[in-house]
Symmetry: C2
């Protein structure tokens, strides 16, 4: 049963690209660097959105919507912010097309040039903080806890489906607070929300940490992150949460009257996760047979494939299949009963393996007689025959087991791929062989960080939150260091 | 209790603008023609989205996501389509900013000019049909029933919050079918879905009909629509569904092998509703005291306002209020218990009236003694005192009554504002006095339609689906006509 899927060992990158396309998740569009998210991929994203949205609302946030376009002058108000994004901005300069005078087709109407160029948002701090100036007058207006689901554009030269695209979908939280402490607490809280989401729903273990100064978000004083490890030993930043200090409040003059009646600038955070999470989900669990989805995010948790030789068998099986489907649906388990005549059972087995459906039930004439069904797990590819009257109970248990197993498997891989390294030679060797996170002493300077990156392509992924301090010497400079940090090559 | 809201009679347009801002629904942004949808407005839009999305999925549609940008060459492939949208397109011409050499700030980097300009989607037919060419090979791939939730941009010179903005949020369905009949059925089905949504959830009665050729969507063979009537006698197009024939299939070469193995172009529809519906919702039901929301779309269906003079009363009331809240929540009724000390009861009454919360409960010390609560209806502004132990039952009934009353009230207004008119003098008079829909004979020519529009600003809103044929003479040209059509001034 060939899926014509390149194996991970053969070419991990090719495996990923083929899988994304063949499992009907996404494809490249005719627009450079922009993807089409196909219905099956989008259904997974919708499940992720729904859960995240719930978690944001439970932590007191409300959704709103801000403009797609940002006037160039806004964009320039926070100096380090514009430096960070200027090189990858899509710029709108005109607002009309017309027929070319020489009849050669449609051209830009040069008389419809904007007085001020508009930037397609790469992130919305500037337009939002321009708005917050009108919304915030007093401490009574704080905290202001807003989230936005939106598309953003960052002009990328090298793109890969989900992982790095010029346009992507994301959510961006933007909050305003009375005090520095409260803002830092918010930034940390949202890092924790992201970590909980990644571990509980995506079944992806993550390391919580802070970024070094050079890896921080443009305009942030501190960037918190969650870092995951992919099966090829490369790290992936799965979400970031920024403490922005008073930088944007000062740039956009957002002051409030505090309880003592004094004017002060407000304190800010922003935080986001994107369709990049789809890439992490795919790469963490999938195998050479295709996608593997955690039950908590699978659009279809169970597929039922009937196996029959004639119409009579087909109808008899359909009765049982529909009963199972109803029973499972009633218990909030999503089921696809694929009763199509146009495809054979073998084709269907293959298809749903490729698409990562967690549990497959097959029902044939023998099962009818014996009152059984055959149950297959996508994560372990194991099969068992179970009595029909235990189907709900077994499936509930199995879905839980799969969710746990995927997490445990990923955690085990991740934990065996964090290696303590104490010299630069080992560091370089391990990076090229085993990969994964390398926990090493670093002297804390941007120069050393930059040199290591230049020479090995490894970056400091984070300074783990739960780090123990220990004195040591920097693997690169030999200077003293107070703690290990995590290096890795990364997506 | 002044809301400082201009009355509808005094200045309807000003009333609308003030209401949208004061009820915290939306506001203008610093970007020309683009609005900020504030959390309360967005919460209503989310409820609308959730319901529409459910209805689309129940009718077999799946969501997907296509690029924000459309290459200029795609846009030009369907001739009437580009004619319809070219004059209002935001055009991306560059992909980088840089620091000006003279130190004057950030400027567009002229070396980063795109080879082909990108249009910010005003609608996605072209990019989607370019994709469908890859997705559709055989009749097995049909019907293809896809919906997209997205932002779109149409450069508008005169904008109004929700009603006409340069950027707006919407959904756009794009379907592909084997036969003409099936495509027409789909276009009609979605018009019916929109009508059901408008009437059942928004409590807005609508007239289903088709557009005249000159009012059709650019590229459509038939445009179905639902038309609503606002309180100032102007019509509002609340949703459209287009039968596109094979126009886009031909422009993008989308063919399929039919059951006989022959190649044929597929048949298409597209359909959409947008944040414009928010404008319709606001204008249909609201009054001089503020917003009036139908319970089916209110983010908070019930607000509880405690009335107390001391801390002891406050705590005693809070116990009861929280019991009510839990009871209602358990029965899927959303409740806001506003226990803030920072605002007085009068201020709160005013605020929730302005925000259109359907039911308000007030609980004071006397109510505690008598085991009662005071219940106020936002639609009728009536109050009654009810026994505490009937609160769930009474609120359930009241919410139903409000939903029905709003619909009936709007239906009554709409029905008394459809006037048969048989000559052009009456037509012009009625348009300036009573307004509403004018049902008049029309000779069927674009010339007459255009003349009437020029002279009176009235357009043909639709040819109602449930029209009875009757012979008559055109009010403008005196030529023979076979049916009446509905004229109105419109948003």
């Amino acid at each position: 049963m060939g899926k014509n899927l390149t194996s991970r060992e053969e070419d991990y990158s090719k495996w990923y690209n083929e899988l994304v396309t063949k499992a009907d998740l996404a494809e490249n569009s005719g627009v450079r660097g922009c993807m089409v998210i196909k219905p099956y991929g989008y259904a997974i994203w919708e499940k992720m959105q729904a859960q995240l949205d719930k978690m944001f609302k439970e932590t007191g946030h409300k959704n709103a919507y801000f403009p797609l376009f940002i006037p160039k002058s806004y964009f320039s108000k926070e100096a380090s912010h514009v430096d960070g994004f200027a090189k990858e901005c899509a710029v709108v300069t005109h607002y009309r097309l017309k027929n070319a005078e020489d009849g050669s087709g449609i051209v830009v109407d040069e008389t419809a040039k904007l007085e001020e160029e508009l930037i397609v948002r790469p992130t919305s701090e500037t337009i939002i903080w321009d708005t917050y100036r009108r919304w915030i007058q007093s401490y009574r207006d704080l905290p202001l806890l807003i989230n936005q689901w939106a598309n953003v554009v960052r002009w990328e030269m090298r793109t890969r489906l989900f992982l790095r695209t010029s346009e992507f979908l994301w959510q961006e939280g933007h909050t305003a607070h009375e005090t520095k402490t409260e803002a830092i607490e918010e930034a940390e809280k949202m890092m924790n929300v992201y970590a909980e989401f990644a571990e509980t729903f995506m079944a992806i273990p993550v390391i919580k940490g802070t970024k070094t100064a050079s890896e921080r978000f443009a305009g942030a004083l501190e960037t918190y992150c969650i870092e995951a490890l992919m099966q090829d030993g490369k790290a992936l930043q799965a979400g970031t949460s920024h403490f922005l200090g008073q930088n944007f409040a000062k740039a956009f003059d957002v002051k409030f009257a505090n309880k003592e009646g004094k004017q002060d600038y407000v304190w800010a955070t922003s935080w986001g996760v994107s369709t990049r999470l789809m890439g992490a989900l795919i790469m963490t669990h999938s195998d050479d047979n295709g996608l593997v989805l955690p039950p908590n995010l699978a659009p279809e948790q169970v597929v039922i494939v009937p196996i029959y030789r004639n119409e009579e068998q087909k109808s008899a099986i359909a009765v049982v299949a529909n009963q199972i489907k109803m029973l499972l649906n009633k218990n909030n388990i999503s089921v696809n009963f694929d009763n199509r005549d146009t495809y054979k059972p073998g084709w269907k087995f293959n298809e749903y393996e490729l698409k990562g459906v967690p549990v497959r039930l097959a029902i044939g004439p023998n099962d009818l007689e014996n009152k059984t069904v055959e149950l297959s797990r996508r994560d372990t590819l194991t099969k068992e025959t179970i009595p029909l009257d235990t189907v709900l109970e077994v499936i509930q248990t199995t879905l839980d087991l799969i969710q746990k197993n995927l997490y445990e498997r990923a955690l085990n891989y991740r934990n065996t791929h964090i290696t303590n390294v104490d010299n630069y030679t080992d560091f370089k060797n391990l990076l090229e062989t085993k990969g994964g996170f390398l926990s090493a002493h670093w002297d804390g300077t941007a120069e050393t960080e930059e040199k290591i990156k230049e020479e090995t392509k490894a970056t400091i992924r984070c300074i783990p939150i739960e780090n123990t301090l220990e004195s040591g010497i920097c693997i690169y400079s030999g200077k003293p260091s107070t703690q290990r940090v995590l290096f890795a090559k990364a997506y």
